[in-house]
Symmetry: C2
Subunit: 213 residues, 2 copies
């Protein structure tokens, strides 16, 4: 996982814009592309998914917290695991008191709440403000649905101390890249870019070392 501030990210993008959005071909290789066009240099090539069942039992899909307390995530069908290019679906369980970071992403996202309840926080739309600002709060509940447009700063939390919150989530344009905020008053350009997502990291693996014998 690579973290950088949005300011750092924008600086890179600006540099790219200055040179006319062309590929850097100083040494003629793909690795001379700006890093946001490809896996960061610390992350080798993606592990392609060689085999998976056409129909998968969700109970048997690998789930994990991926270092996030209170999270259980399973990618039901996705870019890195199954080769999808346009849409990805997750099965997420969030423990009481836990939730997503305050974050935004350019992709669209649809939630279907299967079980439990909680709160959706959405930043007000105010393009003149350099930070999200105090969010609006919406109760979410079993058998509810909502979506988040691209670029909207939001957070989903299990604010029900008695029950897990279970959701199916569909996103566009996988794999997801997010910008995370420390709080609702963090400037947009200080949000930290996180890519790949915690659960996508396992799909990037180092090339096996050559056997020295």
């Amino acid at each position: 996982m690579v973290e950088q501030t949005e300011a750092e990210y924008r600086e890179r993008v600006s540099t790219e814009q200055i040179i006319g959005r062309k590929r850097w071909t100083i040494d003629g290789s793909l690795s001379s592309l700006p890093s946001y066009f490809q896996p960061p240099p610390t992350l080798p090539a993606v592990q392609t998914t060689a085999r998976y069942d056409v129909v998968r039992n969700i109970s048997e899909v690998e789930q994990g917290s991926f270092g996030r307390a209170g999270l259980s995530h399973a990618t039901l069908a996705g870019a890195l695991l199954h080769g999808l290019k346009e849409v990805e679906a997750w099965y997420n369980t969030v423990a009481p008191g836990s939730g997503t970071p305050i974050h935004r992403h350019s992709c669209e996202e649809i939630f279907v709440v299967l079980k439990g309840s909680g709160t959706l926080y959405i930043a007000p739309s105010n393009p003149d403000q350099d930070h999200p600002g105090t969010p609006q709060e919406y109760p979410i509940f079993a058998n509810s649905t909502f979506h988040v447009a691209g670029g909207v700063v939001h957070q989903v939390r299990n604010t029900n101390e008695h029950e897990d919150l279970q959701c199916i989530v569909a996103i566009s344009k996988p794999p997801m890249k997010v910008f995370m905020y420390k709080d609702w008053f963090t400037p947009h350009n200080a949000a930290k870019m996180v890519f790949p997502m915690f659960w996508d990291e396992r799909c990037y693996q180092t090339h096996p070392k050559k056997d020295e014998l």
Copy 2:
């Protein structure tokens, strides 16, 4: 809804290619564009969605069969109803013995089966064949997931005579346009294009007639 064979569709596309993928500007109006670039002429402008709740109770989302026996469909979050551009989610219930047509679409599709069971039929991949051919069959069941890549001919049926089949479906690139096959031996170029989808038709409405008084 407009139906045309793929041959007719391809003929239009070819004509468009011949003239260099330029807009037809014979009369200088947008309506002179080939019809596949816009709602068919019988369908006026899309009804934009003025208002919807941020969080919606799925039980209260409008559901309907839209003329398809054995189907109950609800668009949870979509292009025409909610302004999404990249992903759309449905809640579909299929009665015993019913199912989707044999069809294909260029978008990607992910299914999550919530209840019931049935069968997924997938055409073999054989680019040299002019028709789908006898499909492979896969049992689907509650708490299972599967996806269909763009362009793959498939069908999902409730083959359990005792129980409804309930699924959440996520698609990319909404609104969906499909090509439907009469059977697995229908030539690809005789598949009928259907657009808009049955449930999207209500989003296209005629302009209100002017009050003659």
